[in-house]
């Protein structure tokens, strides 16, 4: 049986990949990278999920009732990294647009 969250993660990743490969607009490529990142993050955070679990903080609850804290830490870190990557890519896109006047990867060479 495949859980729905893993299926969703796979769908997000394959969507992102297909957009990154086939689309020619730079903004769409940035979005595709972000969608792949979100898919991976969804996968990571659902790894540590326990139905009816409680927050992993300093309490009396037994170990098995808590959701796994490690995956949440991983996801938060990877969200921060994703943010940095997307911000840098967008600033590259702004500069490329400033130099070429278009966002299309195919037309860029001709315009110069």
């Amino acid at each position: 049986m495949i859980s729905i969250q893993f299926l969703a993660a796979i769908i997000l990743i394959s969507l992102g990949l297909s957009v990154a490969v086939f689309k020619k607009n730079l903004i769409k490529i940035v979005m595709a990278v972000h969608v792949i990142g979100s898919g991976v993050n969804l996968f990571l955070v659902s790894l540590g999920y326990r139905a009816g679990g409680i927050a992993p903080i300093f309490t009396d609850a037994s170990k098995l009732q808590m959701v796994l804290p490690t995956t949440q830490a991983l996801t938060l870190t990877s969200i921060v990294i994703d943010f940095a990557v997307v911000a840098l890519m967008l600033s590259f896109v702004i500069s490329i647009y400033g130099h070429y006047g278009t966002l299309d990867t195919q037309k860029r060479r001709l315009k110069e």
Binding site: A55, I57, T59, D60, V80, L90, S91, S95, G98
Partner: protein, 157 residues
């Protein structure tokens, strides 16, 4: 003044109203980072939303009143404080939490079990959260500011 970008009075009024809550909420998230979900990055990002809102409502005039150098110095400061705090635990190991349970700042000794969430715990973790919050706030503000001025200049050409 006429050809200058200026948001409508609705946007500006909402910006006035939201300014204080945004900053306070961001500070809350940063300070409670060791107890509740959130922390330096989330809180810093919330505070930086204020800068984005400020730029949206006041345009280039607003951007002119923000100092880029101040932001980049604050960014370096936040990161430096973070690494220096990690260095301070070096008598044991790098990143050692030397302040927890010490009885001093953020060092309240608590017994095992459920508690209401004392703010005065966590050792260096709250301090690191503050440093990270400062860094993220100034870094995101800087990014937003740079992107904003660049796209504005482009439009006027």
């Amino acid at each position: 003044m006429n050809n200058e970008y200026r948001a409508s009075v609705v946007v500006r009024t909402v910006a006035y109203i939201l300014a204080a809550p945004l900053i306070v909420f961001g500070l809350y998230v940063i300070l409670h980072g060791h107890l509740t979900p959130g922390g330096g990055f989330a809180g810093g990002a919330i505070m930086a939303t204020f800068i984005a809102l400020f730029l949206v409502s006041f345009g280039r005039k607003g951007a002119g009143s923000l100092h880029r150098n101040l932001f980049s110095v604050l960014e370096s400061l936040g990161l430096t404080v973070f690494v220096v705090l990690a260095f301070l635990g070096i008598s044991n190991t790098f990143f050692y939490n030397f302040m927890v349970n010490s009885g001093h700042l953020f060092g309240r000794v608590i017994s095992f079990g459920v508690n209401p969430g004392y703010l005065d715990t966590g050792g260096v973790i709250p301090l690191m959260n503050i440093a990270v919050g400062l860094e993220v706030f100034s870094a995101i503000s800087l990014i937003v500011l740079e992107m904003f001025t660049y796209s504005r200049e482009d439009k006027n050409d």
